[in-house]
């Protein structure tokens, strides 16, 4: 099936139509930064955004989420399942890759009904990236600069119009809310292909090893001196995990209301770089140093997730590098590990543009 083309002038009308039926969440400008937030009118959206402070995972896995409510007097207990129909609009391809990993994790083994219910009611409208978000992003190195599946609709900016690829029946139905999406003409194909081939050289390769080598690189780098150096720098603030689109670790706590008889069980984001993450009752900490925690974080990103789910554990969005107060970042970390192992040639640059 080919793609559709919608003039940009028709886009606000389409969003208006969505807002009749759906909660719409997309990138909004807040002062000089962007965040995914609920949209009340098409003007709230800014699809020219660079990157957002927090990734769109917060729509699927909220920072603070009720799992169940309980009432001890009546003995009643109820799961809180959120099924609000939502359009998640303007998701960059790195974040789409991250959502594929979240899907795999929460569907694996005993499925997490809270995540699944929300996910099934979220329509993903992704957006082709045409230039790097920030100096810190390295999506091209992680293979997330493009996407061929996992979206309901995928938009590419053609200047005065959007090329819209339909990824699912639900996506098609969403597109049918507007009458202004026409089948692409030969000229549209030509424009789209030109746009896609023009974008590629704008993105730099920043990793000096190929992503398929990362797991092996880490496997031989467990005892690297670099972890000690990162551990000395790391402040243990946890920002890297909070802003990461593939981090999903969580804590579960109880909150009680004033009656002391009823309350909620709450899931909230947690992070393996926080000092208390692996502490058990009695006080023993199974990862007691920043060094061990940073190493665990990078092993999850570069090795464990790939081996467990066949999907990249780091999508190269660069948010953690932006957020880190002491400039610990995946590119420098992986490159330094690689340099300390064997001198690597810059093979990407020789083979590819």
């Amino acid at each position: 099936m080919g793609f559709r083309v919608m003039p940009k002038s028709a886009f606000p009308g389409w969003v208006e139509q969505m807002l009749q039926t759906y909660r719409v969440v997309g990138p909004r400008k807040i002062r000089d930064r962007y965040m995914f937030d609920e949209v009340n009118s098409p003007g709230d959206l800014d699809l020219t955004y660079s990157t957002t402070v927090l990734p769109p995972k917060k729509v699927l896995l909220p920072q603070h989420e009720e799992l169940l409510s309980f009432d001890l007097e009546s003995g009643k207990m109820e799961a809180a399942i959120d099924t609000q129909p939502t359009v998640l609009l303007g998701v960059h391809t790195c974040d789409l890759h991250a959502i594929r990993l979240l899907d795999a994790v929460f569907e694996d083994g005993y499925a997490d009904q809270h995540y699944i219910a929300r996910r099934q009611n979220v329509l993903l409208v992704s957006l082709e990236c045409l230039s790097p978000c920030t100096e810190k992003s390295f999506c091209k190195s992680m293979g997330t600069l493009s996407v061929t599946e996992g979206y309901d609709l995928h938009l590419t900016d053609l200047g005065d119009s959007y090329a819209i690829d339909i990824g699912s029946e639900r996506g098609q139905a969403l597109l049918e809310l507007t009458e202004n999406a026409q089948p692409a003409t030969d000229a549209d194909y030509s424009r789209l292909n030109q746009t896609l081939s023009d974008k590629w050289p704008r993105f730099p390769y920043r990793l000096e090893s190929d992503i398929t080598e990362l797991a092996n690189l880490l496997a031989v780098s467990y005892d690297s001196d670099l972890w000690e150096e990162l551990g000395e720098k790391c402040l243990g603030c946890g920002s890297c995990t909070i802003v990461c689109p593939t981090c999903y670790c969580f804590n579960v706590i109880d909150e009680v209301d004033f009656s002391l008889n009823a309350g909620s069980r709450i899931r909230q984001w947690d992070g393996c770089t926080l000092s208390q993450f692996a502490v058990v009752a009695g006080g023993h900490n199974f990862r007691s140093t920043n060094q061990e925690r940073q190493r665990h974080r990078f092993f999850r990103k570069g090795k464990y997730q790939m081996e467990a789910y066949g999907l990249v554990g780091c999508v190269g969005c660069g948010r953690c590098a932006e957020a880190c107060l002491v400039d610990i970042n995946p590119v420098d970390t992986f490159n330094e590990l690689s340099r300390r192992r064997i001198p690597m040639t810059r093979r990407h640059k020789e083979v590819l543009p």
Binding site: L67, L68, F70, L72, G75, M77, E78, A79, I81, V105, F106, D108, G109, Y110, A111, D112, Q113, H114, Y222, Y248, C249, F250, N251, V252, I253, D254, V256, L260, G263, R265, R267, D270, C272, F277, A278, V279, V280, A281, G282, H284, F286, R287, E292, H296, F299, R300, K303, Y304, E307, A308
Partner: protein, 282 residues
């Protein structure tokens, strides 16, 4: 017949079943055994080595190993809980008839079928007897299926020994070899004094036909391991159960991860062969 496990795949895996405390026994000032019944004849149907997520509503949830053996869980099961944290602190104040939440059973059990016909040596420290008791009583209830049964158990003081009634029962049996030790003796103690490894000189094992099950605090594992490997017990025959922080029980919340392994679903039981490359596991 409904199983507690089926509840996990119904509305939400996080919604516990409300279990009733039918009996509470204090073993020491810090440790109590809670006997729980599930509603409507629901069965736990666990295997030795598994655990449940135990809730006190309004306080929280924590993973607790199941101390009763499947062979002795007739409509109820037992958890031996140390008063060590927020949830367990409140639990220790509770009375028979009170309601707690239970999810599970979770985790990979001990591979009992691989232990058939083997000599079993248990090396247990402190609260490690709670999960070990599930295995031991299962073995004793099917005694003919196994070779020798040797139990080494150490506690800080005689007063810290758990399940003393059952220790006496095991000691009386001619088909069980029980050796006790304490770090610090008290008046009337005429047994061994010293760490658990001092007991190994008392026992003879045929190493290649021996399975060792060692349960206790992390600090104990290294020393027990040296003894066992020194006796020639194969690495794949040395079994542990690990304690970690857990919030989900199903390999998602991330807290219990040891390298790439999730203690909650890949463990908590592990053989030494499986984890010997993983620094920090022990």
């Amino acid at each position: 017949m409904t199983l507690l496990k089926d509840k996990i795949v119904s509305s939400s895996l996080y919604v516990p079943v409300q279990a009733t405390i039918r009996d509470i026994r204090a073993l020491t000032p810090l440790e109590k055994v809670f006997s729980l019944t599930l509603p409507d004849g629901m069965l736990l149907n666990h295997e030795p080595g598994q655990f449940v997520e135990l809730s006190v509503f309004g306080v929280g949830e924590a993973p607790i190993s199941i101390t009763s053996s499947p062979s002795r869980s007739n409509g109820f099961f037992e958890l031996c809980v140390r008063n060590a944290g927020d949830m367990t602190g409140v639990l220790h104040q509770m009375k028979p008839g009170d309601v707690v939440g239970v999810r599970g059973p979770f985790g990979r059990p001990f591979p009992m079928n691989r232990f058939l016909g083997k000599d079993l040596i248990f090396a247990i420290g402190g609260l490690g007897l709670a999960p070990a008791r599930s295995v031991i009583n299962q073995v004793l209830d099917e005694r003919g299926k196994y070779g020798k049964v040797i139990i080494l158990y150490g506690a800080r003081t005689p007063g810290d020994l758990l399940f003393t009634d059952e220790l006496e029962e095991w000691d009386r049996r001619s088909d069980v070899e029980l050796h006790l030790t304490v770090d610090r003796p008290a008046e009337g103690w005429d047994g061994n004094v010293g760490v658990i490894t001092t007991l190994f000189s008392h026992v003879q094992v045929y190493a290649r036909n021996t399975v060792a099950i060692t349960l206790g605090p992390p600090v104990m594992y290294r020393f027990v391991l040296m003894e066992l490997l020194g006796k020639g017990v194969p690495e794949g025959n040395i079994w542990f159960s690990f304690e970690r922080r857990m919030k989900c029980g199903v390999g998602k919340c991330g807290h219990c991860q040891i390298h790439h392994l999730y203690t909650c679903k890949d463990g908590p039981t592990f053989s030494f062969a499986e984890i010997k490359h993983l620094e920090g596991a022990l």
